[in-house]
Amino acid sequence: MNATRSMVLCGIGAVAGLAIAGVGLFSARGTATHSVPPEDVALVNQRPILRSDFVTQLESETGETFDQSTRAEKLKVLEEMVREELLVQRGLELDFAETDQSTRNALSTAMSQQVLAEATTSQPSEQQLQQFFDQNPARYATDGILTVRHLVIPLRGGSATGQQMVKAHEAVTALRTDTPAEAVVARYGLTEPRNDGDEFYFAARIHLGDPLFEAALKLKEGTVSEPLLAADGVHILKVIKNKVPVPLTFDRARLQVMTDLKDAQQTRLMQATLKFLRGRSKILVATDYGDYKP
C-alpha cells in the first residue's frame, strides 16, 4: 500500500515539475521578473525600454522637455515604444534577418559600425601619430594652388594644319610679350574653356587633364608653354601663379594625421574581422564560380 502511495505521489510530483518547467520554457511569463529596474521605463518580455531612450523619443516627438510634457503625451510615447518592441520581437521570431532585405541591410550596416566602433573612437597615442606622420610624409603638405590661363585652338580631325600651328606659335609669342590673354583670344580666334582663377591642384588637374596639368607644373610663374598638340586641339598654357605644396609640421597636421590613422586602423580592423569570419565559416561556391576565392 505504502509503495503504491509513494509511486503515485512521486508521479504527481514529476508531472507537476514537468508542468512548471514547461510553462517556464514555453511562456515568457515563466521567467519574468515583476519589477522594472530603475533605469528602465518598461520591460517587454524581459527586454528593457531604457528611460533615456524614452526621454529622447518623447522630446523628439513633442518638441518639449520631459518635464514640460503632459502625462498623456508620456503615455502615448510609451505606448508607441512598447508597440515597436512587440513588433521587433515578432520580426525576430519570423526571422526577418533571413527574409527581409531592408533588415539585412540594416544589420549589415550596424555590424560594420560595431566592428569599426573601437577604431572610430579610440584615441591614438602621440607616438602612434608621430610614427604615422613620419611614415607618410607626402600626405601632409599645404594644398598646392595653380592659376593658369588655358587657351585652345580646337581641332576637328585630330591633327593640326600648318596654318593652325603658325597661329599657335604667334599666340604664344604674343602672350610672352605680355599681351593680355583676352586680346590674344580675340586676335587669333582661340577659345578659353574656363578661367577659374586660383584653383587647388586637384581641381586644376580635373579641369586640364593629366598631361596638361603636368605640363603646367613644369612652368615657372609668368611663363607660357610651347603649343601642346592633343587630339582635341592645340593648347597653350600661361601660368600666372603656382604655389607649390609645402610640407606641414607635425603640429599643424596633427588632426589630419589622426583622421588618416583611424581610417587606416578601420580598414585593417574590417579586413581582420572578415578574415576571421571567413576562417571559421564553411563557404561552398557553385562550380561555375570556381574562380571565386572567398
Binding site: T56, A110, A117, T120, T121, F200, F202
Partner: protein, 225 residues
C-alpha cells in the same frame, strides 16, 4: 524616480552622483577632454566646462544621451546627422554631392566669418564670402550653420559668430584649415561599457562643471566667449 534634469536641484542626489561622476570622468573621458574638462582645440575636442554646447543645450538628459550613445560612434542612436565637409578636396562630402571651393572662395568665407567680430579691411571679400555662405549651390554653409551663422545644436553645427572655436584659435589660418579639410569629431558610446547609474552620474558631473563655469563668467560681468 527622479528625472535626469531634476538631479542638479536635489542636494542628496548630487552628493551621491558627483564623486561617482568625477571618478568615471577621470577614468574614461579625461584622456581626450582633459583633466579640467577644458578640451583640446588642436584636436578639435570640445571644452566641456564653458557652457557652449555643440549638441543640445547642456541639460543633464542631453549630456547623458551623448555619453550613452556617443557622437559618430557607430551606435545607431548616437548623434550622426552631419559633419563639416572638406572643401579643398574633389568630393567634399560623402553623404551627397557638393562642389569643392576654390582657394579664393575659402579666403572669402573666412573673411565673412571673421567680420562677425572684427571689421575686415577687404569688405568686398566679406560680401563675396557671405554670398558663398548662403549659396544653396556652392558653399551651402547656411544649410547647417543657419542663415545667421549661429549654428544648430540639433545637428552639432557650431555657432560661428560667438568667438568660440572648436578647432584652432579662431585665426584666419585655422578657420581656413577647417573649411579646407573638414571636421568630424567622435565620442564613444558608453552604453555597453558603463552602468546606467555611472553614466547618469557622469552626465551630472559634466553638467555641474559647465554650470559653474557659466556662473563664474556671469559673476565676472563678462559675456561668455
Amino acid at each position: 524616480m527622479a528625472s535626469a534634469d531634476s538631479i542638479p536641484g536635489n542636494a542628496d542626489l548630487m552628493s551621491f552622483a558627483m564623486p561617482r561622476g568625477a571618478s568615471a570622468y577621470s577614468k574614461h573621458c579625461a584622456s581626450c577632454h582633459g583633466a579640467q574638462l577644458q578640451g583640446d582645440p588642436v584636436r578639435a575636442i570640445p571644452n566641456l566646462a564653458d557652457a557652449d554646447w555643440l549638441y543640445g543645450s547642456g541639460r543633464v538628459s542631453e549630456i547623458e544621451r551623448v555619453v550613452l550613445y556617443g557622437i559618430r560612434s557607430g551606435n545607431s542612436k548616437g548623434w550622426d546627422l552631419a559633419h563639416m565637409p572638406a572643401f579643398a578636396t574633389p568630393h567634399p562630402y560623402d553623404l551627397y554631392a557638393m562642389a569643392p571651393l576654390t582657394p579664393g572662395d575659402i579666403e572669402d568665407v573666412t573673411s565673412y566669418l571673421l567680420a562677425f567680430r572684427h571689421p575686415q579691411a577687404d569688405e568686398t571679400a566679406v560680401e563675396r564670402g557671405g554670398r558663398i555662405f548662403h549659396d544653396a549651390n556652392q558653399g551651402v554653409c547656411s544649410d547647417c550653420h543657419g542663415f545667421d551663422a549661429k549654428g544648430d545644436s540639433a545637428i552639432g553645427a557650431p555657432d560661428l559668430t560667438d568667438g568660440v572655436w572648436l578647432r584652432g584659435d579662431g585665426s584666419r589660418q585655422s578657420i581656413e584649415d577647417s573649411i579646407a579639410h573638414g571636421l568630424a569629431g567622435r565620442c564613444p558610446a558608453w552604453i555597453t561599457v558603463l552602468s546606467p547609474v555611472t553614466i547618469r552620474a557622469l552626465a551630472v558631473y559634466v553638467h555641474s562643471a559647465s554650470t559653474r563655469a557659466s556662473a563664474r563668467t556671469l559673476s565676472a560681468g563678462g559675456k561668455r566667449e
